[in-house]
Symmetry: D2
Subunit: 443 residues, 4 copies
C-alpha cells in the first residue's frame, strides 16, 4: 500500500497548506520529498530501517531524512488510524477497478465464444444427467450472467468504499480545523465519513470486497468443474491446447487440466480470507484495535487470487477447442426430448401429470426394448396423437425444440442472438464504469 | 416457504390460463384449491404424506385431492427447479424487508438515546485504552453508521434478488409459449431472469443475503462487546435493568448480561451459514444439482438469528441505563487531552512530531510525580506557551475540546446535533423503502 | 440433552447423599422424581413453563413440583456452568459412539463390495483423466482408509472429552467438600477436570468433534462426487437402483442421483458448524460466558447431518450396481499402460526420463495415426526392445500390470486380498471400542 | 519444502540402489548432487528457471545439470504425486515438533508465573462479572490446561501423519518392485501408506494440523482478550513493560497493547486456513487433482502465524507485571463471597434454593443501603445462624474461602501447589516427545 500512502500524504499536505499549518515552502519540500520517496519505493530502492514500525512510519522517517523539519509537520492533524483507513480504501477502490476489468475481459471472451457457437448444441445437464438440448452459446451466457452479477455487486459496494476517512484522526477528528472535503475530492472520493469513531474502525468495505471475490471464485469453480468433466475421455466435449494442459511426471500419456483445477482449488483463498476477516472483526470493541491490521493479508490474498484466476481463464477460454462432433452426438440423444413429447401431449389437452406419466412409460419401454425413444415414438405415432410419423420425427430434432423456446431467458435462436447483443452492451457499460473510476482515483 | 409456494403457484396458474392451457373453470378450481391449501398450511391443519417428496409436491398432491384433474395441470410448463428458485427469491425478498425494518428499529433507538446523551461525555477508546473524550451520542451514532451501511447493502442486493426465474423450467424454458413477464409483475418482480440455465442454478442471492446478515451480526457483536465491558464492575458505565439481566444458578449476587452475550455468540450463526452456502456451491457443475437444496437451512438460520438479535437489542438499548456519573468521571481524565495539548503547540508553530514528543515527556513527568497531566501543565504554562494559567486550564475541559471539533464527522456539538437530524432522515428513507417493497410483494 | 441432564443429576444427587448433604429419604425422593421427569421428557409428556429458563431449570422445577423440598436441595454444590458442561460431554461421548458405529457400517459395506470386485478393473483417475488400471476393490478401499482415519480421530478425541467437569461449580468448585471422583466414574468418565475455571469454559471437545464430522463429510463428498460422475450417461460406470434415484418433476426420462448430491451438499453443515463454534469461542474472556450456549446448535447440526449421511450412504453403497462391461471397456484403454511401457524400458537400462520421453512420442504417434498405443507398440516391438510381439502384447493386459504391483499399498491381487482381510479386522476393533464405551456411558 | 524434497529424494535414490535400478556410482553421484542442490537452496544460491514447473522439477533439473545421466534416473518408480505427499508429510511432522516446543515454552512461562502468584488473589469472572475469588496461579493454570489439550491433540494427529506415501507412485504404485519400508524408516516413518489411491489424494493430515493450529489460536485469543481488558485503565490488573506496549502516532499519552491485539487478530489466519483447506477438498474426485496443491499456502499461513504468536506471547507473559494492589482490591469485594454464604447456610441444613434466595435478598439489601455485603451480614449474624460476628467476618476472607476448596481441580492452596507440580511434569513429557520425534526425522 506504499503508493496509496504517498498520494494520501500528498493530499493531506496540501490540506495542511490551505489550513495555514504548512507554509508554501514547507509544502513544496514535502511534495518533492514524498514524490522522491514514492519513486524509491516503486523502484525497489527504498531501504527499510529496523525502527520503522510499518510502511507509514517508514515513509515519514525517510521524508524527514530528505527534507528535514517540514517532514516533522506532515503528521499534523491526522493519525495512523485515519491514514491506514484511507490507504486501505484507496487500495480497495483500485482493486475494484481491476476486478471489474478482469471480469469484463472474461465476459468478452464468453461472448466471442458464444457468437461462434450459437448453433452448436449440447445436452444441458441437471444432476449431471442429460436433460434437454441447449446451444453452447446459451451455456456460455449462463456464466456471463453470473459474472455480470459480480460486476453489479462490485459497482454497488464501491459506493460504500467511496468515503474518505482522512480527518477522522485517531477517533475524534482534530482541533486544527483542517478541511476534509477538498483532499477527499482530490483522492477521488465523493463523500467524507460521517462519524470519526466509525471511520477508523470500519472494515466493512474490506469484508464486502472479499465476499465479492469469494462469490466470483465460486462461479469460476463451477465453470472449471464443468470443463474438467468435459475434458475427461468419457465426455470429450473439449480439447485443451497443449499450452493449457500439463503432462505427468510419471505417466507419459497424460494431458492434465491443471489450470482448471488450480482455479477451482483457489476458491479456497477468498472463502478463507472472508472467514479470516469476519473472525478478526467479531467482538472487537470500538474504536480502532490493532487486530484490524490483520485484515490486510486476507484482503490481498482474496483479490490477488481472483485477479489471477480471471486472467488465466480468459486465456484458456479463448483457446479451448469445443469438439463439435462429440457435442452433437450427445445432443442427439433422443431422451433429451422426452419433455418436449410431454409438452406436445399437453398441447393436445392431456393434463401435464398424465402426459409426464405416459412419456415416462414410453421411455421405460424404449429402454427395455433397447431402442431409442424416438424409434418407439415413431412406431406408435397414432396412439400418441401425432398426425404422421414425420411429425413425430420432427419432435426429435433438437433444433426444432429450440425453435419453440423463444420466451425471455430461453434458448431459442432469436433469444440467444439477442442475449449475445445485450451482453456486449453490458460489458461496454462495465468497462466505462471502470475507466471513469480509474480517472478519478489518484495515479 | 409454503406461503411463497402458494402465491407462486397462483401466479403460474393465471399465466397458464392466459396461455390457453387452463380453461376458466379449471383456473378457478385451482385458485380456490390453492387458497384452501394455504389456509390449511398456515393453520397447521395440513397433513403431510410419506410420499410427499417436499413441500412443493405436497401442495400439488393436496390440491389434486381437493380439485381433481385441474390439479394435474398446474405443473404444466414449469419444473421444481424454477419453482423452488422462485419460492426462495420470494422468501428472501420478504426477509430483506424484515431485516430493513429490524435495522430501522434499532437505528431509531440509537437516535433516541443519542438525543438524550448529546452532552454526556465519555472516553473514546482505541486498543481499549482511553484516548479522547467524545459524546455518548457520537459513540451511539458510530453504530448507527454501521447499521446504515447494512441498510444500503440490503437494498442493493435486493436488486439482484428482484428477478423472476419462473418460466426457466428445468433448465431450458418450455415449448408452450407461456408469458413470463405478467406473473413476474404480479409477484413483485421488476425483471425476469435472462438465462434459463443460470436461473435454476443461481443461489447468489442467498449467499449475498447471508453475507449481509453476517456483517450485521459482526456489528452487533462489537456493540455487545462494548456493553459487556461497560457492564463490568470495573467500568460501571451502564446498568442493565433487571428484565435484561440474568441471575446465576449458584451465585446469588450475580446480574449477568446474558442477552448481550447471546447476541454476540449468535454471530457464529450467519458466519457459519455463509460458509455453509459457499461450501455447498463450490465446484457444482451446471445447472441444477440437488446440493442446492442445502442452501435453505443455512439461509433460514442466518436470517432468523439476526432478526431475533435486532429485536432483542432494540429492547435492551431502549432500556439500558447509562451511568452519567461514572462516564463523567472517566471522561474527566486529563490524559484524554494530551493530543489537544500537542495540537495547541502546533498552533504555536511547533512541528507536530516535536510537539508530540514534548507532550509525551510531560505525560511521563506527571506519572512519575503522581500528578494529573493538567496539574503539571498548569504549573508550567509559560514554558508551554500559554498566555495564562487559566488558558492552560481551559484546554483540559473536555467540552472545550469538543467545541473545536466541528469538521464533518467530528464530535463537535453542532456536528453531532446535525448528525442526529440526518440520521433520522435516513431511517425514514429506509422505512419507506421497506414499505414500498412490501406493497409490491404478494401477501 | 434432557437424558444427559437426568443421569447427570442422579449421579450428583448420590454424591450429595454420600457427602451428608442429602439424607437417604431425600435422596430416594430425588431419584424417583428424576426418573419420572426423565420418562415424561422421553414420552413427550413434559410441559415446559414460560418461566423455565432452559432445560436444566425446567427439570429442577418439575422435580420440585413432584417431590417438594428435596428438589430444592439438588442444585447444592453445583452450578449450571458445570452442569451444562457435563451434559454436553455426555452427549458428545454418546455421539462419538454413534459416529464410530455409523462409520463402521459404511466400512463394512465397502469391504463387502470390495470382496465382490477384487477382479473388476477400472481406470484409476488423476485430474479426472484416465491414468492406470486398478481394481474396483482397491478404489473402494481407498475410501475405507479415509473413514478409518476418521475412526482413529474420533477415538483419540474421546480421550479429551473423557473428563468430568461436575464439581467445578460456577468456576471455583464448592466449599462443601463433595467428592468428584465417584460420580465421574458412575457417568463413565476416567478423569475429573484439572482446573475449575477451564472446566466451565472449555468447549474444545465440541470443536474437535465438529471438526471430525467436517472431515468425514469431506470424505463422503468426494465419494459422492465420484459416484455422481460415474452415474452420468457418459461414464455409465454405475446404475442406481430406482429406490436410490429420483425422477424429475418436469423431465420424464430422468433418474437423478439426488441422494448423492444431498450428501455432498451436506458437507456444508459440519463445515459451517465448525466455523460457527470457532467464531463463538474467539476472543471470549474467562471463564464462562453465555456465548458458549451457542455451541449446541452447531454441534447438533454437524453430528446429525453426518450420521444421516453415513446411514443413507451405507444403504446406497450396498445397492449400487457396478456396470462391469463399461468398467472393463474403460480399463482396456491401452494408454493406461503407457507408464508400464516406460517402466519396462527402465528395466532394460534406459534412464527413466528418456523412457518417459520415448513413450510420450509413441503415444503421440498413435494419436496422429489414430491407432491404439498397443498397436503401435506391437508394430515396433523390436525397436522398443521386446523379445517378441507377444511379449509387447502382454504388457497391455491390465491384469498383467496389476500382477507386478505387489508392494504394500499397491493394487496387486495378493495385496488387495490382504488389504480386504486387514480392513475387516480394523472394523471389528472399532466396533469393539464403541461397544466398550457404550457400556460405560450411563444409559 | 525444498529441504524435505532433498531428503526424500536421497532416501528414494538409496531404495533405487537397493532395487538394482541405480548402480553404486550413479547413486553416489546423485547423493553428492542432491546435497549440493540442498546447499544451494539453503544458501539462497539456487537459480530457478522459467521452465521449472515447481520446486520438485527444479531440483531434478539442477541435479541433472550437476551429475548428468544419473539425474535422469532419480524419478524412476515415483511420481510427483507421491513425492509431494511425502514432502508435505515431512514438513508437517517437523511443524508439529515446533508447535509442541512452542506450546511447551508458553506452558513453562505460565508455570513460572503461577509459582510466583500462588497467593495472589483476583476475582474469577463469569460473564465478565466478578464471581468468586481465585488465585492468579489458578487462572494461569486454566490456560495451561487449554494448551495441554493442544499438546495431546498434536501428538495424536502425528500418528496419522506418520505414514510414508513414497512408493504410491501416481496412484497405483510401480511395477519395478522397489521396497517401500526401508526408505520410510530412514525418513522417520513407522508405517507405509496402505492404499496407493488414498496415499496420493489424502490431505487429512494437513486439515488436522491446521485445525489444531486454529484451536490453539482460539485459546491464545481468549488469553489476549483477558489481558487487553486487564490492561484497561478501569481494570489496571496488569502493566505492560514499555517493550511490550506501543505508542500512538497522534496521542502522546497512549501505551497500547498492540502485541496482544495482533495475536488475537491472528486467530483469523488458521481459522481461515482451515476453511480454505476444507473448501479445496470438498467434492474432489479421486485420486490426485491439482487443486490439492492449494493446501500449502493455507497450511503454511496457519503454522507460521501460531508459531509466531506462541513465541511473542511467551516473551510478553514472562514480562507482564501483575498489579498486586489492584488485584487484591478487586478480590476483596465482599460480594465475591455471596456463594460461600449460601453454602454456609446449606451446611446448617437450609435447602440450597432457599439459601440462594436468602443471600440474594441480603445482597439487594446491602445495595440499597449502600453497604458492603459483609457489613450487612456481620450486623445480622445471629439471624443467619453464625455463632459470632467474627465467624461471619471470617467467611468474607477470600483466603478462608479458598482454604475450603480442596477438591480436585478446585483452587484450594494445596490443590494449586499440586497442580503446578503436575503441570511441570506434563511439560517435561511434551518436550521429551518432541525431542524423540526430532531425532527420528531426517535432518
Amino acid at each position: 500500500m506504499a503508493a496509496q500512502d504517498i498520494v494520501g500524504s500528498l493530499a493531506h499536505a496540501r490540506a495542511l497548506g490551505r489550513a495555514g499549518l504548512l507554509d508554501a515552502k514547507a509544502l513544496r519540500a514535502i511534495e518533492r520529498g514524498l514524490l522522491k520517496v514514492g519513486r524509491e519505493l516503486s523502484r525497489g530502492e527504498f531501504t527499510f530501517q529496523p525502527s520503522d514500525e510499518d510502511i507509514h512510519m517508514a515513509v515519514e522517517r525517510r521524508l524527514t531524512e530528505l527534507v528535514g523539519e517540514p517532514g516533522q509537520r506532515l503528521h499534523t492533524g491526522r493519525s495512523r488510524n485515519d491514514q491506514v483507513a484511507l490507504d486501505l480504501r484507496l487500495w480497495c477502490r483500485s482493486a475494484t477497478c481491476e476486478l471489474v476489468e478482469g471480469l469484463a475481459t472474461v465476459q468478452r471472451v464468453l461472448i466471442r465464444r458464444a457468437r461462434q457457437h450459437q448453433a452448436t448444441l449440447l445436452p444441458g445437464y441437471t444432476h449431471l444427467q442429460r436433460a434437454q438440448p441447449v446451444q453452447l452459446a446459451h451455456y456460455l451466457l449462463a456464466y456471463f450472467e453470473m459474472l455480470d452479477r459480480d460486476q453489479e455487486r462490485l459497482q454497488d459496494l464501491d459506493r460504500r468504499t467511496d468515503s474518505s476517512p482522512l480527518g477522522a484522526g485517531a477517533l475524534a477528528g482534530s482541533t486544527l480545523g483542517i478541511d476534509r472535503r477538498r483532499p477527499a475530492r482530490e483522492l477521488g472520493f465523493t463523500r467524507v465519513s460521517g462519524n470519526s469513531l466509525d471511520a477508523v474502525s470500519d472494515r466493512d468495505f474490506v469484508a464486502e470486497l472479499t465476499f465479492a471475490c469469494a462469490l466470483t471464485a465460486v462461479h469460476l469453480s463451477r465453470l472449471c468443474e464443468d470443463l474438467v468433466i468435459w475434458n475427461s475421455r468419457e465426455f470429450s466435449f473439449i480439447t485443451l491446447p497443449d499450452r493449457w494442459a500439463t503432462g505427468s511426471s510419471l505417466m507419459p500419456q497424460k494431458k492434465n487440466p491443471d489450470v482448471l483445477e488450480l482455479v477451482r482449488g483457489r476458491t479456497g483463498r477468498p472463502v478463507a480470507a472472508l472467514v479470516g476477516i469476519l473472525t478478526v472483526l467479531k467482538g472487537l470493541p470500538l474504536s480502532y484495535d490493532r487486530d484490524l491490521q490483520e485484515d490486510r493479508g486476507h484482503l490481498f490474498s482474496a483479490v490477488t487470487s481472483v485477479n489471477e484466476s480471471l486472467q488465466v481463464l480468459s486465456g484458456l477460454l479463448a483457446a479451448v477447442q469445443f469438439n463439435r462432433q462429440a457435442l452433437a452426438k450427445a445432443a442427439a440423444d433422443p431422451e433429451l426430448l422426452a419433455t418436449d413429447l410431454a409438452e406436445w401431449l399437453v398441447g393436445g389437452g392431456v393434463p401435464f401429470r398424465l402426459a409426464h406419466g405416459t412419456v415416462a412409460r414410453t421411455v421405460r419401454e424404449a429402454e427395455s426394448r433397447q431402442l431409442g425413444l424416438d424409434q418407439v415414438v415413431r412406431e406408435s405415432w397414432p396412439r400418441l396423437g401425432f398426425s404422421s410419423e414425420s411429425e413425430a420425427e420432427r419432435l426429435f430434432q433438437p433444433a426444432h425444440s429450440l425453435g419453440l423456446r423463444e420466451q425471455p431467458g430461453s434458448p431459442g435462436p432469436r433469444r440467444t442472438e439477442a442475449a449475445v447483443t445485450a451482453a456486449a452492451q453490458r460489458v461496454a457499460a462495465h468497462r466505462a464504469w471502470a475507466r471513469s473510476l480509474r480517472r478519478r482515483l489518484p495515479a
